[in-house]
Amino acid sequence: MSQKKSDKSETEGQKHILSVLVENKFGVLVRVSGLFSRRGYNIDSLSVAVTENPSISRMTIVVRADDQVLEQVKKQLNKLIDVIKVIDLNDEEHVERELALIKVKTVKDTKPEILQIVDAFRAKVIDIATDSFIIEVTGDDKKIEAIETLLRPFEIQEMVRTGRVGLSRGYKEGSRDRN
């Protein structure tokens, strides 16, 4: 998902991963995404699903912004009544992953070469048809972009990415989603 509205953060700014815990309620996604478009903030990707606590969802939002805009993004998110906590993963040690499914065209001669690439990236072929593979790859966005580049000459027919998700590292007392 990409939002282009104002130029205030289009060119400048670093990517930040915000991990946002929200009440798992009707309409929360639109409250959050609406805030971004209304105030002209850029979303690179957004993924959302329920956490281990069924009353809470976690949104992972990748946003490009300079420090001042990022500060506003965090404050405005915190102002939403349904937002419980906003964590900037860039501030702490964290791991992040993204998953992509890539459907690539195959002909007899190209299959071994594609399988080699899949192997090298520790990706998986999860569907084989007579003239195509669907490849599942997990990693950070650089890895996904790299495999995409290598597969492009074989003709990528379709591709889908989940957007990044992340978690901070290590066990922290009291950092359960709802304590």
Partner: protein, 576 residues
């Protein structure tokens, strides 16, 4: 907590919930999806004010809230009733006014089917409410109402909308009202960080040219007395934004007027020359700051606000203090007092006083050299003179305004005495706000005289509400500063568009006297300067809803004026 063993309808639960919130007045308009609620209203003792357009219900709730400090409540039916509230809700949102707006909704089984009078009002009002709810079950009504009132009236105040489906108002429920509210994700900060407050005290006592710059947050947190106390304690000049007017009496020796685009030159001068700017419950709106890079560029900014998102949004705050203005000021004052009374600070205080004398004298000199002026000898009725006359005749009246030139004249020329005396749409600038907001103010403060200072353009945007004032016997005097123009736009056309008055001449569009009389109100017209005072007095003394149409000098402009985007010390001067 009230517990009952018998079930009641959702509509009755709605009424009971309002009672639990101590609501005594609702501004509303019935409709299909509200039939069960209106049936319950029929035999309850809530004071229901029937407006003539739902927009007015929202403005009236807003005016009620601003005048009383309590939560204003409005009610409208689904679809068009709900969408008609939008301007009123947006107005309340921009000025952080606490209202709870209730809307009817079609049966939950019909939601999403484009049913008759269906509108996704929670979706539509998402960007203009502090929060909103869609309630589809009778048993959810009490909790939603309890949370809505809590959210609207705490933290940075604002409008909350509760959309209730018709089936939820019909279904039966065992009524019980929540004892307290628990919203884990909503915990406003009230007490300011003491370290920051101490830092602020240090900066203030080191300041050579301190200035208090204050806005609507002071009114909303009932902190006016503390603001005056701080100002008097250290002899600090005070400028109040449009939303802050009344927080300190206009006649107070430390008050230097409103800042900004149409601000007093002395207020802008003080901002530009201050070295410590103490911003209290103000949000640095563009109409106040002018070109932002040049605003108070020599000052360290201390920013006290309950909303963390306002800190460093427009102006970087060296010392941010998040908290309730009233509580923070109390702490700040006691720390300053402590320091003043500490022996070792004697020299510091003396230095402060010496610098302060120079600064205050400088400001007083500037003030005496740059008074507000208009041509008092003109044979025509000058709009400023109208406001001065009202100020003389009704010094303690609540003054409500519409939006435009008359609003700025009211802000400048009325001598405000107390907080909540001035009620005006600042952030959104909503024409048509005046009369319905005046209705809300009068219902909330029945013992006060309420005067709506309006323009001939604005007044026509909600003039149907004369009917509401007459029906409910609300003696509101609307004084129309009638120049036959959409005056503020005309002023900009004169100054920036080569006097090409595109669609702003509305002279003789209606006979306001007959209009008033048609509704059963009193109508007056003033064409002679010498008649003004007598007629205004007659209207105010009549104790009836009245409209006074004052034909003023058509060409008068609002000055001082800083053009949009310029620094606040770059003025456009009137042609001599």
């Amino acid at each position: 907590m009230k517990k009952q063993t018998e079930t009641i309808s959702g509509a009755q639960a709605f009424i009971e919930s309002l009672k639990c919130e101590s609501v005594d007045t609702i501004f509303g308009y019935p409709g299909g999806s509200l039939l069960p609620i209106y049936d319950a209203i029929f035999d309850c003792d809530l004071h229901h004010i029937l407006v003539r357009h739902e927009q007015a219900a929202a403005h009236a709730a807003d005016g009620y809230s601003r005048a009383t400090g309590k939560v204003g409540v409005c009610l409208a039916t689904s679809g068009p009733g709900a969408t008609n509230l939008i301007t009123g809700i947006a107005t309340a949102n921009m000025d952080s006014s606490s209202i709870v707006a209730f809307t009817g909704q079609v049966n939950s089984s019909l939601i999403g089917n484009d049913a008759f009078q269906e509108a996704d009002i929670t979706g539509i009002t998402l960007p203009i409410t502090k929060h909103n709810y869609l309630v589809q079950r009778a048993e959810d009504i009490p909790t939603a109402i309890c949370e809505a009132f809590h959210i609207a009236s705490t933290g940075r105040k604002g409008p909350v909308l509760v959309d209730i489906t018709k089936n939820a108002t019909v279904d039966r429920v065992l009524f019980s009202y929540p004892k307290d509210v628990n919203i884990p994700s909503y915990k406003p900060t009230y007490k300011g960080n003491m370290q920051q407050i101490k830092r602020a005290a240090t900066e203030i006592l080191k300041a050579k040219r301190p200035l208090i710059f204050s806005g609507g947050g002071v009114i909303s947190s009932n902190a006016s007395e503390k603001l005056v106390e701080l100002s008097e304690l250290l002899n600090i000049p005070v400028t109040l934004t449009l939303m802050g007017l009344g927080a300190m009496p206009s006649s107070h020796k430390n008050f230097i007027g409103m800042p900004g685009m149409h601000g007093m030159k002395t207020a802008n001068y003080a901002i530009q020359n201050s070295d410590v700017l103490i911003a209290v419950g103000a949000r640095f709106d563009d109409r106040v700051t002018g070109r932002i890079e040049d605003f108070a560029s020599g000052a360290k900014v201390i920013h006290i606000d309950i909303d963390p998102a306002e800190i460093s949004k427009n102006i970087y705050a060296e010392i941010p203090i998040v908290g309730d203005v009233s509580i923070v000021l109390k702490d700040l004052i006691s720390i300053i007092n402590e320091r003043i009374n500490t022996r070792s600070n004697e020299k510091l205080i003396q230095e402060y006083k010496a610098n302060n004398d120079k600064w205050v004298n400088d400001i007083l000199k500037h003030k005496s050299e740059n008074p507000l002026t208009y041509d008092k000898n003109s044979p025509l009725i000058k709009p400023q003179f109208v406001v001065e006359t009202i100020s003389e005749l009704a010094p303690n009246a609540i003054i409500v305004t519409d939006v435009g030139q008359h609003q700025m004249w009211a802000a400048h020329y009325f001598d405000f005495k107390y907080p909540r005396q001035f009620i005006s749409s600042g952030g959104l600038g909503t024409m048509g706000f005046g009369l319905p907001a005046a209705i809300g103010a009068k219902v909330g403060c029945p013992d006060k005289t309420v005067i709506n200072i309006t323009g001939d353009g604005s007044f026509q945007m909600n003039s149907q509400e004369i009917a509401t004032a007459v029906q409910h016997n609300l003696p509101i005097v609307s004084v129309i500063i009638n120049n036959g123009y959409l005056g503020m736009v005309r002023q900009w056309q004169e100054l920036f568009h080569d006097k090409r008055y595109s669609e702003t001449d509305i002279q003789n569009s209606v006979d306001f006297v007959k209009l008033a009389e048609a509704y059963g109100a009193l109508g007056f017209r003033v064409t002679e300067k010498s008649d003004l005072k007598r007629t205004l007095k007659e209207a105010i003394d009549s104790q009836r809803p009245a409209v006074v149409d004052v034909l003023v000098d058509r060409s008068e402009n609002v000055y001082p004026m800083v053009p949009a985007g310029a620094s606040i010390n770059e003025y456009l001067e009137p042609d001599a």
